[in-house]
């Protein structure tokens, strides 16, 4: 009892086992890159020195990300350690697939951490969002129009833009701006405006043929809508709309039909349309429970192994048990985000934290479900792990938003210094700590 009382002020912070785990995580990555260096050397591949550099640099980044950030910003350490682990895992796996991609992802990781910190600061301190939201709405729509005006087509979707020699995917960045705008509108009960904005964005995404991202936007906004209004009618209507849209798409577009057929039986055309799914499943089966070992498999045969299919690579070389652990880490991130949403006192921040968590959760579900043939495959990235600067930065920004909201809540819960000794601000009992 006594101990509990002593820790009373501390309990307002979310308790985390981060400090104990971080050493282990750093060791994991140090050994991982060391192993890769040894393997590359024995194979006679060039670039093993880079692996040695990364064996120090990545654990250092993890250390800075997990323990350094809380020194300058009162963030959520559990969230930090989980996301940093996944990002570093992405660098490791990508380096194993292709050293150059690994290096470039390490750079993306660094940029992402900085962007995350930026988002965290913004959402910690800005309280009046009204004027900003109008701007954000414009930015969202503008960014989504950009690829239609002068974008380049990659893998059938026209969602890629190169500006000033710097290529990026606007739909990834719009994730955040759109969610902020929609959640603010919903918190002000401007439901129709929120629906209109989402509808316009979805339409633009459809024009870019970026159906995977459209699905994520749709699911996330629908969830936020239901959370804000509690209207079952709207939820059912939204679901019926999605089902109807899917049916119309299935009837109208040959490629959608083909994708569903491939999902139902990829083995029928295992050398053609079903090749990717079949090779993904085989890679998982080759790995088995314990995996083949880093560097010992042949993940190169899986199409998009560094991107949409990176989860199967993880199962292939690290084993299915490790894959399950990775999924549980994603779930922990999502649930942590949701607990942040439940602790905050403003409807806007609660909705925003919820949407960010749901976005991450849905994205993971959609791509991993596609990988293991639970649902038809839609091309979205695996958050934090897949190769790609925009995707990694936007995922980390979503976490940054959560960090900011968490810090804001903590600051509000802390009794003002002048009234030291009085009871802490009232808060819900039984809430998760």
């Amino acid at each position: 009892m006594n101990k509990r009382k002593k820790r009373q002020p501390d309990q307002k912070k979310l308790l985390t086992p981060a400090r104990q785990l971080i050493g282990l995580v750093m060791l994991f990555f140090f050994l991982g890159f060391l192993l890769l260096a040894a393997w590359m050397r024995s194979e006679g591949a060039s670039g093993w020195e880079k692996a040695l550099i990364l064996s120090v640099a990545v654990p250092a980044l993890v250390y800075a990300g997990v323990l350094g950030i809380p020194r300058v910003f009162p963030g959520d350490r559990l969230l930090l350690s989980l996301t940093n682990f996944l990002c570093a895992l992405g660098v490791l796996v990508l380096f194993r697939l292709n050293p150059d991609r690994g290096i470039s992802q390490a750079f993306n990781y660094f940029v992402g951490v900085v962007a995350m910190l930026g988002c965290a600061v913004v959402f910690r301190f800005i309280e009046r969002w009204g004027p900003l939201v109008v701007l954000l709405m414009g930015v969202s729509v503008g960014l989504l129009v950009l690829p239609l005006v002068y974008g380049s087509e990659i893998n059938g979707a026209k969602n890629w833009v190169t500006l000033f020699g710097f290529g990026f995917q606007p739909s990834e960045l719009v994730k955040i701006t759109l969610l902020v705008a929609v959640c603010w509108l919903l918190s002000k009960r401007k439901t129709i405006c929120a629906i209109g904005l989402t509808g316009a964005s979805l339409l633009l995404l459809m024009l870019q043929k970026d159906l995977g991202t459209a699905l994520l936007y749709y699911g996330t906004v629908l969830t936020a809508l239901w959370a804000a209004t509690g209207s079952t009618l709207m939820l059912l209507g939204g679901m019926a709309g999605a089902a109807g849209g899917a049916l119309v798409g299935y009837r109208m577009f040959a490629h959608v039909k083909k994708r569903v057929a491939v999902w139902r039986n990829p083995w029928a055309d295992r050398q053609g349309a079903g090749y990717q799914i079949v090779q993904g499943l085989i890679a998982i089966a080759n790995g088995g429970l314990w995996g083949l070992g880093l560097g010992l498999g042949n993940p190169g045969v899986i199409p998009a192994s560094y991107n949409d299919y990176i989860f199967t690579v993880i199962c292939h070389e690290f084993g299915v048990l490790f894959g399950i652990i990775v999924l549980l880490i994603y779930l922990a991130i999502v649930l942590r985000g949701i607990s942040i949403a439940r602790r905050t006192d403003s409807a806007f921040h609660a909705l925003l934290a919820l949407s960010c968590s749901v976005m991450l959760g849905l994205q993971t579900f959609v791509i991993v479900g596609g990988n293991i043939k639970l649902i038809p495959l839609t091309g979205v990235t695996l958050p934090f792990i897949s190769y790609g600067g925009t995707s990694l930065v936007s995922s980390l920004c979503l976490v940054g938003v959560l960090q900011g909201i968490s810090a804001r809540t903590q600051a509000k819960l802390r009794p003002p210094k002048a009234e030291k000794g009085t009871k802490p601000a009232p808060r819900r009992k039984g809430g998760k700590r």
Partner: protein
């Protein structure tokens, strides 16, 4: 705000459920299909690893070598291997469809489906470390199969020398122990010699195709086992007597005439069996009475019974990959339902499945899972896996199974039964013939499926010979010879 918090909590549950779904579905599909994904020939990893591992030996139940590795050492010390097969050519030809070949031309056979053993994937860390410490090249596990090499050789010899059969006859033979589910022979014709040079293989009639497990055939009258099982359950049919008048018109349309085997309307020959009960009609293989019974029971009733016997089921046996049998799902005319009762009309099954059904009847209604793998042992001699028999499912109750057995006994042993050619003096042999008609084929497919109802020789045999003629004339004598060999052992 309170409502919002409640809603948010609900959403957390939904998301957690989605992740649980991912993990559960992934685990389910990996445990059920993982070995199948692994062993397909689309697995590039498996192909690449084959160079570094010496695949283990494959033995039959008596220890005869079916396949082994001949290691070649080059002057620079590197190793390579060639797959060698059984000494006798008849044994090689008789076992090749169950065993497969190292190039994977026969799909889903032991050499590919059990690659995880043969290529050392079941090795644990200690096995690998001890191989590494001794400087040995990795060596796969030795497998002992339930196959009987002598029996397979005997059947292969008998079929190839039988002058009454056409050359390159297509067909399949399955021999099982109906008590345990052990598969003694799993053969497909025409066969080929895996030891022969590839260019010398006679490719007539697809020798690489395993008809016993992958072939899909109309069972013809052999399906009457299932029809009888259903009829015995129907209160209006089980004890009554029927009259066979030679023709049966299920829906009154003369074009939809169902006649008995041997009837030739052009020649004016009409075969009719007169008064008979279900058992007698079964022994006579009377189409009229069984088509009538099927029409009386209806499609749903018959389908439900067929599904109990494994139709429309996704077979996931541990050792054998078998094509799934199908009983049509859609609404059909009465004529088609009547035809189904005698095993025609888009009913499809593999010879292995018919053997399983026969074995289940012999085993008082309990279908055993077919097993091919008796033992797996590591290269160091440590046993990795031993045979365990397991029930696949109960297909019918023991009383019904015994009644079907009596009817099958009558079919082989009564004077007018169709399966007389399979009879063995002094042994209770039960069986059923089938002569399935196929469009675009001159002769019928000859079927015989039967078993010895004796615990001293608990064997079930299914024979299919395509495009030959009546089951009683072509398939039953071969089954009789196999029974003879089995009891003489």
């Amino acid at each position: 705000m309170k409502q919002l918090r409640t809603n948010i909590r609900r959403i957390a549950f939904v998301l957690a459920a989605l992740f649980a779904l991912l993990i559960l579905y992934g685990g389910y599909s990996l445990s059920n299909y993982g070995s199948r994904w692994f062993s397909t020939n689309a697995n590039a990893y498996l192909r690449s690893v084959k160079k570094d591992v010496i695949p283990g030996n494959v033995l039959d139940r008596n220890g005869t070598l079916l396949a082994g590795s001949e290691v070649v050492v080059y002057q620079d010390g590197t190793l390579s291997w060639n797959r060698v097969y059984a000494e006798e050519e008849d044994v090689r030809r008789g076992t090749v469809h169950a065993l497969g070949d190292s190039q994977g031309k026969v799909s889903n056979a032991v050499e590919s489906f059990m690659a995880s053993y043969l290529y050392g994937f079941k090795q644990n860390v200690w096995d690998r470390l001890s191989d590494f410490a001794d400087g040995r090249t990795r060596q796969g596990d030795t497998l002992t199969l339930t196959l009987d090499a002598d029996l397979c050789g005997y059947i292969s010899r008998t079929v190839s020398r039988d002058q009454s059969l056409p050359s390159h006859v297509r067909g399949a033979v399955v021999v099982m122990n109906w008590q345990t589910g052990e598969v003694l022979s799993l053969m497909s014709f025409p066969s080929f010699d895996p030891a022969a040079d590839e260019s010398l293989v006679d490719r007539t009639n697809q020798p690489y195709f395993n008809r016993a497990t992958q072939g899909m055939y109309a069972p013809g009258s052999a399906f009457k086992i299932v029809t009888l099982s259903a009829a015995l359950r129907s209160p209006t049919l089980q004890n009554r007597s029927f009259t066979c008048g030679g023709t049966f018109l299920p829906d009154g349309d003369p074009a939809h005439r169902i006649v008995d085997y041997g009837t030739d309307t052009k020649e004016g020959v009409v075969v009719s069996h007169g008064q008979a009960d279900l058992k007698t009609a079964f022994a006579l293989s009377c189409n009229n009475i069984y088509a009538y019974a099927a029409a009386q029971m209806g499609d749903d009733f018959l389908r439900a019974e067929a599904m109990k016997y494994g139709f429309n089921e996704n077979f996931l046996f541990r050792d054998i990959v078998a094509e799934n049998s199908s009983y049509p799902d859609e609404d059909r005319s009465l004529w088609e339902v009547a035809l189904t009762g005698i095993g025609q009309s888009r009913l499809q099954m593999s010879p292995l499945h018919l053997c399983l059904i026969t074995a289940a009847v012999a085993n008082d209604g309990v279908m055993m899972e077919p097993r091919l793998l008796m033992e797996a042992a590591s290269s160091a001699g440590r046993t990795r896996l031993t045979y365990t028999q397991s029930e696949y499912r109960r297909v019918t109750d023991a009383d019904t199974a015994r009644t079907i057995r009596d009817a099958m006994l009558l079919a082989v042993n009564s004077a007018s039964g169709t399966g007389g050619a399979a009879a063995l003096p002094g042994w209770t042999v039960c069986g059923k013939t089938g002569s399935a008609e196929l469009d675009g084929q001159e002769n019928t497919n000859a079927w015989f499926t039967g078993f010895i109802a004796d615990a001293r020789a608990p064997y079930a045999v299914t024979v299919l010979l395509e495009d030959t003629g009546a089951g009683g004339t072509y398939a039953a004598p071969l089954a009789g010879k196999i029974f003879q060999w089995l009891i003489a052992k």
